[in-house]
């Protein structure tokens, strides 16, 4: 057990935990943030993606120790922001959601991408989302959704 401190969705937390636990499990079990999913548990699907200090990271690969003193944003936090709401709308408008399992991770990847590149090309979108698997949509609608968000969110990123 160790004292761990982090900022999660803009709130500070200090608590005692086993630092080798996966961030994914801590967020789902200790904080009931169940938007992030465990797809593969080995870094390949992106369903567990969060932002750590603004960077897209698969939380199934992160021991709690590695987020000590860091800022974490999950889909629950992103959804509260203007940009998050816009990404959500774009995904529904473009028909980019079917079963929804991949959607939180896709939205986090979209936020990370638009933060770096406000007007990405289709190729840049493919690279930005390359770590996120979707078994339903065939990806085209997801790419559409990102293009839509980038267009309608003019000035937000």
């Amino acid at each position: 057990m160790m004292k761990i401190k982090f900022e999660l969705n803009n709130k500070e937390y200090v608590f005692n935990e086993d630092p080798s636990k996966r961030l994914l499990d801590i967020l789902r079990n200790n904080f009931s943030l169940t938007g992030i999913k465990e797809g593969c548990g080995e870094g390949e699907c992106g369903a567990c993606a969060v932002l750590i200090n603004g960077e897209l990271i698969n939380s199934c690969l992160v021991p709690l120790a590695n987020v000590h003193n860091k800022k974490i944003m999950t889909i629950e936090g992103l959804s509260e922001t203007k940009r998050g709401k816009l990404i959500k709308d774009s995904f529904s408008k473009a028909g980019a959601v079917q079963c929804g399992f991949c959607t939180p991770g896709m939205m986090m990847a979209t936020e990370a991408l638009l933060n770096k590149t406000a007007h990405p090309t289709v190729d840049e979108i493919k690279i930005g989302l390359s770590g996120n698997l979707c078994r339903c949509t065939g990806y085209n609608m997801i790419i559409e959704a990102v293009l839509l968000a980038s267009k309608e969110g003019e000035g937000l990123w």
Partner: protein, 279 residues
């Protein structure tokens, strides 16, 4: 009881490591998968563990005297975006999985993991990169091919860690990095080929070749390279069969669930042939 340490500085980390044995966790992208237990149970770290990913005194990249110096926990995504990073290294990083992995993965971790399929390793070999290894009272600089001894075996002692990787900036007129894998993102190399040449006035001044995932460590053979330096490009191309024969004995891939050995060998040699023929 197993100890978990989040040190505040490199010297504090080395101090702990001088007293007890610790497993180093950096980005965790290899270890969290290797130690993975069942979903929702903590990974099985059954030994003392020290977490170094957030040590600020290892998070740097700089260009100095025609060398790139990369701190041990600097993530590969940022190395790729650094303007002076050698083009071959950028290429190898670009096809390492996805951004969400590259934000964590480190070159020191790729070295520490010592897998023959580590994608940054052939690039380090081709550049004759050096690895600075430190302990509480010592510091040594070791060439990459002497750091990695075999599959999952390195020369790094229990009280030591990699502090930085030093990559000389070299002049090449043509380079190639080809990774053959299953899927574009997130594929472990079945085999990889790295080639670099410096051709001036039609003469091959320098030629460097490395193969990944076809032996217990990366294959780079300076004796073979030296044989062909100083030839014209046309002479080099006319001796392609001899070159292939020179490398053939060192391409000893294994058969595993990812691929079979004959396929790997043939592909490796074909990539070499293509590189030479297209100079």
């Amino acid at each position: 009881m197993v100890k978990h340490i989040i040190p505040n500085s490199l010297s504090e980390a080395l101090d702990y490591m001088s007293k007890d044995e610790y497993k180093i966790v950096s980005g965790g992208t290899d270890l969290m998968v290797q130690k993975r237990a069942w979903a929702e149970t903590p990974p099985k770290f059954d030994q003392n563990t020290i977490y170094i990913f957030n040590l600020m005194d290892l998070k740097y990249i700089k260009k100095e005297n025609n060398k790139i110096i990369i701190g041990a926990n600097y993530p590969v995504e940022k190395i790729k975006d650094f303007k002076s990073t050698p083009i071959l290294l950028k290429k190898a990083i670009e096809i390492m999985a996805s951004p969400a992995l590259r934000n964590l993965a480190t070159i020191a971790g790729n070295i520490g993991n010592a897998s023959p399929a580590g994608d940054t390793l052939p690039i380090l070999y081709v550049h004759d990169a050096l690895v600075k290894i430190v302990s509480k009272n010592n510091s040594r600089i070791v060439p990459i091919n002497e750091v990695i001894l075999s599959v999952r075996k390195t020369c790094i002692n229990k009280d030591e860690m990699i502090k930085e990787i030093i990559i000389p900036i070299l002049e090449f007129t043509k380079t190639s990095f080809v990774k053959v894998g299953g899927r574009k993102a997130d594929a472990i190399s079945k085999t990889s080929f790295t080639g670099a040449v410096n051709v001036k006035d039609g003469i091959v001044k320098d030629i460097r070749i490395a193969f990944g995932a076809v032996n217990v460590t990366v294959v780079r053979k300076k004796e073979i390279e030296n044989k062909y330096k100083g030839l014209s490009v046309l002479e080099l191309q006319s001796r392609i069969n001899e070159i292939l024969n020179d490398y053939e004995p060192f391409i000893k891939p294994i058969t595993d669930q990812r691929s079979n050995k004959d396929y790997r060998k043939q592909v490796s040699l074909n990539l070499l042939k293509e590189f030479i023929n297209n100079l």
